[in-house]
Amino acid sequence: MDKLQGRVWIFDDNVDTDQILPGYAMAEDASKLAAFAMAGSKVADFAKQVQAGDIIVAGKNFGCGSSREQAPVALKSAGVGMIIANSFARIFRRNSINIGLPVMLADVGAKLQNGEVVSVDLETGEIHTATGVLNGQPLSENVLATIRAGGLINRVRQELNISSGRKS
C-alpha cells in the first residue's frame, strides 16, 4: 500500500485549481468531476488519456488558488495515483491527503520523461525509474496513517472506534 507504480505526467510551476478543475465544472455532481480533471491545463484531454495509477509530476506551488476540495477529488476519481511536486499550496496538499490522495515533495520534473513508468515508495521517498533511483521527501508518519486509512474520514472513524473500544 505504501508503494505505487504509474506513468508520469509532467506539469510546470503554479498549476492552479482552475487548471485542475475549471470553475465551470464546480457545479457538476461529485460523480462527474473526473471528466474535468486537468481540463483547464495544457493537457485539456487529460481525463480521457489518464490511466488508473498515473502519477502527476509538477513544479512549484501545485494547487494554488481556491480551497475547494473538488480539485483533488477530480484528480483522484480520474484515477491519479499520487502527485509529486517541488512544492504544493498548503490547503490543496492537506485536501489531497484528507481524501486519501498521496502527495510527495520532490524536485524531479526535469529528470523524468512524460509517460515513463516509475514506482514510488511513500515511506522512504524513493522514486525508482528504469535507470536508477531519485529521492523525494518521505511522507510523515501522520500523513501515512491518513493515506493508509484511505483518507481522514476513515481515519477518524477508526480512531473513534479504537478509543471507545478501549473504554469498554
Binding site: N61, C64, R68, A89, I91, R94, I153, R157, L160
Partner: protein, 400 residues
C-alpha cells in the same frame, strides 16, 4: 519558542514544540459557510458520530450567496439549516455578515486560541492574535467530530514593523507591499508573525486586513504578536511603514503590485468596497470622507458592501448610508457581495474594477477579461469619484 509555537504547544497540551513536529491541537472554534459547509456536512455524516464535539464551538454562516442567486445556492442554505437544527450549532442565515467579520464580533476568540475554518481567509482572525487555520471541507468535518486538528509546527517568519504610516496609507497598502515582496508562494507552509513598535498605530480592524491576505502569500498562519521582538523565529524581516505608499495589485495576480501613483490613466467602470478584507467601519469611514463632498463619477458603479450587520447598523446611526446613496453609491446587504464572482456586481470584458477585496485572478468577479485592481478603501473611493484609478489624497487635499 515564539508566540505561534507557544500557542500551538498549549493547544496540544505540550510544554514545547519544535518546527516540523506533528501535533494534535484542541480546536476552540470550527467555522464554515454556504460554499464549504454542504460538503463538510456530507463528510461529517459519513463519520457516523451522533454529535459535534461542542455545539457552542461550531458556527455556520450563510454569507457567500445570500439572498440565493440560484436554486443550488438555496439548496446549500437548507442543508445548513437542517444540520444546525439537528446538532444544535449556531447558524447565521439572515445576512448577518461575512463569516470572518461575524465571528470577530460575536465569537471573538482570545490571542493564541485555535480557529479552524473551511475558508482560505480564516487567517483574518490573526488580526486579533488568533492562530487561525484554513482547511478544506473534509478536515473541517473531522474537526467538528473530534474537536482536534493535526498540524505540523511551521517555521515562523517575523515581520518587524517600525515607523509611522503616512496619511491615506492603511493596512491594505501594507499587505500589498508585502505581496510585492513575497509573491504568491513566498510564505508557503510558514507562519508569519507581525510585531514591532509600528503595530501600535494599527487598530484591530487594520490588523485583520493585513492578516486576511496572508493566504495570498501561501502562509499557513498569519497573526499579530506584541511590539517586542520574538524569540525563535526563522527570519526577522524589517518593515519601515514610513516608506509605504498607496499600492494596487494589477491584473491578474495579487502579487502584481505597483504604487498607485505609477499606474497612469486607467479608466474605471466599477468600484467595490467591502469583503472580509476591507468591509469594516474604519474602511467605510474613508469612503464617506470622500463621498460626503463628491459625487460618484457618472461612468462608475460604486458598490458598498458592509462586512456585517453591525457595521451597517453603525453606518446608519452615523447617517453614512444616506451620504453614500446620495453620492450615487449603492449600499448592498452585508455578505461577500461580488467578491468571488457569484452575484451582485459581476464585470464583463469591458469592465475595469477597483476593488478592496483580496483576489484578482481572471474571472474572480465575472468575465475572465474583466480587469481587477485590488486597492485600499481610500484609493477605491477617490477612484470612484474621478473615474480613473487615483492616488488617495488627490481630492481630499483639494478640498482641505
Amino acid at each position: 519558542m515564539n508566540f505561534v509555537e507557544r500557542s500551538l504547544a498549549e493547544a496540544a497540551g505540550l510544554l514545547t514544540v519544535t518546527v516540523g513536529q506533528d501535533v494534535r491541537c484542541r480546536v476552540d472554534l470550527a467555522l464554515s459557510h454556504d460554499v464549504t459547509a454542504p460538503i463538510a456536512i456530507q463528510q461529517f455524516e459519513q463519520i457516523g458520530v451522533d454529535r459535534v464535539f461542542d455545539p457552542a464551538k461550531v458556527v455556520l454562516v450563510i454569507d457567500h450567496i445570500f439572498p440565493a442567486a440560484t436554486v443550488q445556492a438555496r439548496t446549500s442554505h437548507w442543508i445548513m439549516k437542517d444540520f444546525a437544527a439537528k446538532y444544535g450549532v449556531t447558524l447565521y442565515s439572515k445576512s448577518e455578515g461575512v463569516c470572518h467579520q461575524l465571528i470577530s464580533e460575536r465569537h471573538r476568540l482570545q490571542p493564541g486560541q485555535i480557529l479552524v475554518g473551511a475558508d482560505s481567509h480564516t487567517c483574518t482572525a490573526g488580526g486579533y492574535g488568533v492562530i487561525a487555520i484554513p482547511v478544506g471541507s473534509t478536515e473541517l468535518a473531522a474537526a467538528m467530530a473530534t474537536g482536534t486538528i493535526d498540524l505540523e509546527v511551521p517555521e515562523t517568519i517575523e515581520v518587524f514593523m517600525t515607523g509611522e504610516l503616512r496619511p491615506y496609507v492603511s493596512g491594505k497598502d501594507i499587505v500589498l507591499s508585502l505581496m510585492r515582496q513575497f509573491g504568491v508562494d513566498g510564505l508557503t507552509d510558514k507562519a508569519v508573525l507581525f510585531t514591532g513598535p509600528g503595530i501600535a498605530q494599527l487598530p484591530v480592524e487594520e490588523r485583520m486586513t493585513v492578516c486576511n491576505m496572508g493566504i495570498e502569500m501561501g502562509a499557513m498562519i498569519a497573526c499579530f504578536g506584541g511590539e517586542a521582538k520574538e524569540e525563535g523565529v526563522a527570519a526577522s524581516i524589517p518593515l519601515d511603514l514610513t516608506q509605504i505608499e498607496p499600492m494596487a495589485a494589477c491584473p491578474f495576480s495579487p502579487a502584481n503590485v505597483r504604487p498607485v501613483a505609477e499606474l497612469g490613466d486607467i479608466a474605471v467602470t466599477q468600484v467595490v468596497v467591502g469583503s472580509c478584507t476591507n468591509g469594516r467601519l474604519n474602511d467605510m469611514e474613508k469612503v464617506v470622507n470622500v463621498l460626503r463632498s463628491h459625487k460618484v463619477h457618472p461612468d462608475v458603479n460604486c458598490l458598498i458592501i458592509p462586512a456585517s450587520k453591525q457595521v451597517l447598523d453603525a453606518m446608519e446611526e452615523r447617517g453614512w448610508t444616506k451620504i453614500l446613496r446620495d453620492a450615487g453609491a449603492v449600499v448592498a446587504n452585508p455578505g461577500c457581495g461580488p467578491c468571488f464572482g457569484a452575484h451582485q456586481g459581476l464585470g464583463t470584458e469591458r469592465d475595469t474594477i477597483v476593488t478592496t477585496t483580496n483576489r484578482n485572478f481572471p474571472g474572480r468577479m465575472g468575465h475572465r477579461a474583466a480587469k481587477l485592481y485590488l486597492a485600499s478603501p481610500a484609493t477605491a473611493a477617490e477612484s470612484a469619484v474621478v473615474g480613473k484609478i487615483t492616488t488617495p489624497g488627490t481630492l481630499q487635499r483639494e478640498v482641505g
